[in-house]
Amino acid sequence: MTPLAVSIAGAVASLALVLVVLDLIRRHRLRERYALLWLATGLVLTALSVWRDGLNTIAGWLGVRSYPPAVLFAVAILFIIAVLLHYSTVISRLSDQNVLLAQKLALLEQELRVRD
């Protein structure tokens, strides 16, 4: 069985994540599009922390008998990998766009100079 302290700590930390994400959206510092995965992470981890029987059951399916909270860590790591991968694709797109903008700007500047 998952120790109670682990459940409480897990739930508090996950809920804090959800609240921080919501506040960042509210203050226009995080776009909804990039917040959804974080919110899903926070909510799933909260659920698994609070729902202690569920965590044990899932641990049972996976054959984790000695320490069920390990499943909590595994799920957290999976979500973090997903978020990071998502960000890698976002960064790739941004850097492509950045190159395009710089090129376009250079072309426009040259055109303006020629006109002067």
């Binding site: 919501l22 959206i25 509210r26 909804e32 599009r33 917040a35 959804l36 766009q97 376009k104």
Partner: protein
């Protein structure tokens, strides 16, 4: 938005064009500087008809086409028709594209803006009705709604999209305390206040729903006007069932988080 229209639209649009009756433009409109904002993505087949129809509706209407990174001849076709063309260096999505148009309207001191999609689904002849409440001073923003009319029929689209539109309409009506039937309509008319608000702040991706809530939060007046829209010409909307769900979740999140923000009530024209 992201579909190129087939020849079907062209025939359809030009048929309607051929039968269009010359319209008497509201005299109040003549003294105002007015612009049509037309976002377009790969609409080279329909954009010329849209511009022609806008001119037929009102010859004194400036047209600005925002080419949201089209890979076809949309921008050239629009420029050849004498429209102002803003070519975005890459696809910004509908929200970013439309806001570019609002910024143009704001910076060039237009009094009135109308928004018409570049795919020909909005019939400019109906702008008379959409403009009416704005010109009367009853609304800062008027939105053409497919569902506002009694027993509105004729608008067909995918089931998931219809359900989504209905849920969003219910949620938004509840929040703003006014019945809103079509929160996804991009067929709109705005006065200077509306232009200023959207030039300053406009949502991304799937903007109309959030924008509707935003309008009320800023104490601007919005009115819906019943209109009919044409069938989308070629292809289908790019919005599939799964995407609909994603958009729903995202838009609802945006709306509810947005409610907890403090909003600045804009002062009377300061520009």
């Amino acid at each position: 938005m992201s579909v190129s229209s087939s020849d079907a639209t062209v025939t359809q649009v030009s048929e309607i064009l051929a039968t269009a009756v010359p319209l008497s433009v509201d005299p109040r409109l003549r003294e105002l500087r007015r612009v049509a904002i037309v976002p377009a993505l790969n609409e080279e087949h329909s954009i010329e008809c849209v511009i022609d129809e806008l001119r037929a509706f009102d010859a004194g209407l400036d047209v600005v086409v925002i080419d949201d990174g089209s890979s076809d001849g949309t921008a050239d076709a629009a420029a050849a028709k004498g429209a102002y063309v803003l070519r975005l260096p890459f696809n910004l999505g509908i929200g970013g594209a439309v806001q570019t148009g609002f910024k143009f309207a704001f910076e060039h001191d237009y009094d009135i803006a109308v928004r018409v999609d570049g795919d020909g689904q909005h019939d400019p002849a109906q702008l008379v009705r959409i403009l009416a409440p704005v010109l009367r001073g009853d609304a800062d923003i008027a939105v053409g709604s497919r569902f506002a009319a009694e027993g509105a029929a004729g608008y067909r689209s995918s089931r998931s999209r219809r359900v989504g539109i209905r849920i969003l309409a219910a949620v938004v009506s509840r929040i703003v305390g006014q019945r809103v039937t079509d929160t996804t309509s991009g067929f709109q008319a705005l006065n200077r206040k509306g232009i200023a608000l959207f030039a300053h702040d406009y949502p991304h991706d799937y903007p109309e729903v959030e924008a509707t809530v935003m309008v009320f939060r800023h104490r601007l007046r919005l009115q819906e006007v019943p209109v009919s829209m044409r069938e989308r010409g070629g292809g289908q909307s790019s919005i599939t069932a799964l995407r609909s769900v994603y958009y729903m979740v995202k838009v609802l999140l945006a709306i509810f988080v947005g409610l907890s923000r403090r909003h600045v009530i804009p002062q009377e024209e300061s520009a």
